[in-house]
């Protein structure tokens, strides 16, 4: 029960921050109207659009997202340098590999697939239940366990 209050206060804080930045003012009227409208927007979205609560759909934590952002940045730039080396030498072997993931909720799987697409050199083609089909620029190994460790090892560990 306590987790639920923390989650909703994070959501209200983020939407209020967005409101303040778009208005470019930081006086009391803007903050209070932002809080009121963010509570109203989240209430009506849950009631009429989603028909479920945000707490069941995406259960995030700002600190975890902050750490994950830096892990993602490290992965993007490490892979970008490898890709530049492959552009110069032209030693590539494009192929499709299938991976297996252990993540449970749909939101986590969606974030994992989008992060794999975001890193240069890999693109997710299909996500069905627990298997991912990934197009890989330099397919060193077609075994799903070894390829999975090479592609999504660090990302999956920080996501769960």
């Amino acid at each position: 029960m306590k987790n639920k209050y923390i989650f909703y206060s994070q959501l209200y804080l983020l939407t209020t921050l967005f409101w303040i930045v778009l208005f470019e003012k930081n006086d009391w009227i803007t903050v209070i109207s932002g809080l009121i409208s963010s509570v109203a927007v989240i209430f009506f979205t849950e009631k009429y659009l989603l028909k479920k609560s945000f707490y069941q759909l995406l259960n995030f934590n700002i600190l975890k997202i902050f750490i994950y952002f830096f892990v993602l940045l490290y992965e993007i730039y490490a892979n970008a340098l490898v890709t530049i080396y492959q552009i110069i030498t032209l030693q590539i072997n494009p192929d499709i590999v299938t991976l297996h993931t252990d993540l449970k909720t749909n939101a986590q799987k969606c974030v994992l697939a989008n992060s794999i697409t975001l890193t240069p050199g890999t693109v997710t083609i299909e996500l069905e239940r627990q298997t991912l089909k990934v197009l890989w620029l330099n397919a060193k190994n077609k075994n799903s366990v070894i390829a999975g460790n090479l592609i999504k090892g660090k990302l999956e560990r920080f996501l769960s």
Binding site: V21, E24, L73, A80, I92, P94, T119, P120, T124, I125
Partner: protein, 97 residues
């Protein structure tokens, strides 16, 4: 001092974008080109906008640019995924270079 750091970030972004464009001309097939394209529009774009933020300092403008970075990180993989998946489903074969 701040301007020099910002210029270093921006030229790093241009470095990634330049090599991405070079890769588009060196590779000949569709799938390899789409794999290279994310070198341009994530790795280069993030560094370029980070340079803009550092150069402008902390203000409402730089927070708005930060929101643009977040938006690109969310929307960009969807576009790449949609193009690649439609090519794969319509039976496009992977060829070796």
């Amino acid at each position: 001092m701040r301007e020099i750091v910002a210029l270093i970030f921006m030229s790093g972004g241009l470095f990634f974008i330049g090599f991405g464009v070079l890769g588009l001309y060196r590779f000949k097939n569709f799938y390899t080109r789409i794999l290279i394209a994310s070198n341009v529009d994530t790795a280069g774009f993030i560094l370029l906008l980070a340079g803009v933020i550092i150069r402008h300092g902390f203000s409402f403008f730089s927070l708005k640019v930060g929101f643009i970075i977040g938006l690109v990180l969310i929307v960009n993989p969807l576009i790449t995924h949609a193009i690649t998946r439609s090519a794969y489903n319509s039976g496009f074969k992977i060829k070796k270079e």
